[in-house]
């Protein structure tokens, strides 16, 4: 039975409110799928059956009493295993933390509970969110993440389980994190929608830190609209996270705006797979129905990727210094992760600080570019999902991609929306990304929702599911 598996949050919510199902029935349905199908994708660390059913019973009782917490009331979800959840291990995907029990819930988990969502599972991830420099899919004690579109291919990382679980219909939505690419890759490789919020939009309290100044938490879901509903529940200021922004986020699914302005960076489709380029061109055809598109934009000249790498290396070296001190870095799964963090241990303070000094003018320059349009549009990645059994430097060497916004966007902390936009090589999903100004999630979601109203890529299911 898979009648619930690929429904959106809105569709599941209507079934609940029409009394055609219950929160307990939904929880049982997705818990069964997590337990039965999760292992095939190495997507799950811990299934929270008892706690989820207890929460679901409460949500049902509330609905019977007339208390409705909103769109997420009674909706099951999964959380990347870098988010603390009282009573369950929080492993950070890494053997040294496999038995770690943290006190209290992450702010995101608390907020989703307050919104009525039911936490069903802690989901697999690349160890330490990839901060030690993995070079292969097998970089977690749970094994390589596998995309439901072809389990011999990688689900992407570091939010591997979050992408695979949503892609396989094991949960309606999941929370992932992105420091640099960790929502983008799983969304693209698993054929789901993903949203990287503005840095500071969502509290990081209770989440593993890799890079305090670059980590972002965001949803992976069935649609742009679902991403908006989840973001509305988890966004907002939090005194416990000094980087959290005061701005509130309210999601308005319809939106009144009619036209949008999109920009394309020159060279954005260079060295991409032919199918990726073809699907991108077809997507532009759809977008042009309601957007003006200009293709003459250039990224301002800053070494964004070098700055981002310096930032992550230095902050990650401090965040995980204990692993170097106590020697447990040697317990990580991927051999390259066992030595990849040492260079950060001797990164000079002046170099880190210089990168942070340059960050503000670089972000300002990017903002000036983004202010010329409502969003930049590009293929999310230059290829489909990578084979699991090959080192990353051996996969698709002919398709490294063209001009990319990813490093600049993550360094500057601006939002990105990732949407399925077709099938590529071997029937694997391809993806489209929209990048906007800081706090510009509403525009991205409005553009994305209209794209998905005109297409059915986000409705397609992996083979056999």
């Amino acid at each position: 039975m898979s009648e619930f598996a690929f429904l959106t949050i809105g569709e599941l919510g209507r079934l609940l409110r029409d009394r055609r199902t219950t929160a307990v029935a939904l929880a049982e349905f997705f818990l069964d799928r997590l337990e039965r199908l999760g292992p095939a994708y190495n997507a799950v660390v811990t299934v929270l059956r008892e706690a989820a059913l207890a929460e679901a019973r409460e949500r049902d009782a509330e609905l019977r009493r007339g208390k409705d917490r909103g769109p997420l009331h009674g909706i099951p979800y999964g959380a990347k295993d870098l988010l603390a959840a009282e009573g369950a291990p929080t492993t950070w995907g890494a053997q040294p933390y496999r038995d770690q029990l943290l006190k209290g819930d992450a702010a995101v988990v608390r907020r989703l509970r307050a919104a009525g969502a039911v936490l069903c599972a802690k989901l697999a991830m690349v160890e330490l969110a990839g901060g030690m420099g993995y070079n292969q899919a097998f970089a977690s004690f749970t094994g390589p993440g596998r995309t439901p579109w072809d389990p011999s291919r990688w689900s992407g990382g570091s939010s591997s389980g979050s992408g695979a679980a949503v892609g396989a219909g094991l949960v309606p939505f999941a929370i992932g994190s992105e420091t640099w690419g960790s929502i983008q890759f799983p969304a693209a490789f698993c054929g789901v929608s993903g949203l990287r919020p503005t840095y500071g939009r969502v509290s990081r309290h209770g989440a593993m830190a890799l890079s305090w100044t670059m980590d972002k938490l965001g949803p992976l879901a069935r649609s742009a609209e679902d991403c908006g509903l989840v973001l509305a529940a988890i966004a907002g200021p939090d005194p416990a996270d000094p980087s959290s922004l005061a701005d509130r986020f309210e999601y308005s699914p319809g939106g009144r705006r009619r036209g949008f302005r999109l920009g394309i960076l020159r060279g954005t489709t260079d060295k991409t797979q032919p199918e990726v380029r073809r699907n991108f061109e077809e997507s532009l055809g759809v977008l042009r129905e309601y957007c003006q598109v200009r293709d003459d934009l250039r990224l301002p000249d800053y070494p964004y990727e070098a700055m981002a790498s310096i930032t992550i290396d230095a902050e990650g070296a401090s965040a995980f210094e204990e692993l170097f001190q106590n020697g447990r870095i040697t317990e990580l799964t991927a051999p390259e992760d066992r030595i990849g963090g040492y260079s950060g241990q001797v990164l000079l303070a002046k170099d880190y600080i210089r990168a942070q000094r340059l960050r503000r003018p670089a972000a300002a320059a990017l903002d000036r570019l983004l202010s010329e349009v409502d969003a930049l549009v590009a293929p999310s990645l230059p290829t489909v999902a990578w084979p699991i059994d090959a080192p990353f430097d051996k996969v698709y060497p002919d398709f490294p991609g063209g001009t990319s916004i990813g490093g600049a966007a993550n360094l500057a902390g601006v939002p990105g929306l990732f949407l399925p936009n077709g099938q590529g090589e071997a029937g694997l999903p391809t993806s489209l990304q929209l990048t906007g100004r800081a706090l510009g999630e509403s525009l991205l979601l409005a553009i994305g929702a209209r794209y998905q109203a005109r297409t059915d890529h986000h409705r397609r299911r992996p083979p056999g599911l």
Binding site: G133, D238, V346
Partner: protein, 115 residues
């Protein structure tokens, strides 16, 4: 190649105007205006050969953690340190004024307890 290195490689084309095509590892496309670009980095051109600073910093790693690292590990780490130094040299190519502050979050008011 790390996954992050792959992400970095996706963006190197965008650095061509800044670094020059050889340093970025790309052929110059006709649309790219490199007229105002900074000269290619000497160290980037010599990528693959750890310099004295990389070797000195690697020695600090060997001093602290050498007991658990074999010569092959140390060679890899030395190379990674060289890559890191080259990234810092890229960043240093952009001028900053004395008053350009680091974009760090610090508040004299301590965070309040969790909500």
């Amino acid at each position: 190649m790390k996954r992050r290195d792959f992400a970095e490689s996706l963006a190197r084309a965008a650095l061509v105007p800044l670094l020059g095509p050889e340093a970025a590892g790309f052929t110059l496309e006709p649309w790219i205006d490199s007229g105002a670009s900074v000269a290619p980095l000497a160290s980037a051109a010599a990528a693959g050969e750890p310099g004295p600073l990389a070797r000195a910093l690697a020695e600090a790693i060997r001093t602290q953690y050498g007991g658990r690292l074999d010569p092959g590990d140390l060679a890899t780490i030395t190379q990674q340190i060289q890559t890191s130094i080259e990234r810092s040299e890229q960043v240093r190519k952009i001028d900053l004024a004395n008053g350009d502050e680091p974009d760090l979050v610090f508040s004299a008011v301590p965070p309040r307890p969790a909500e």
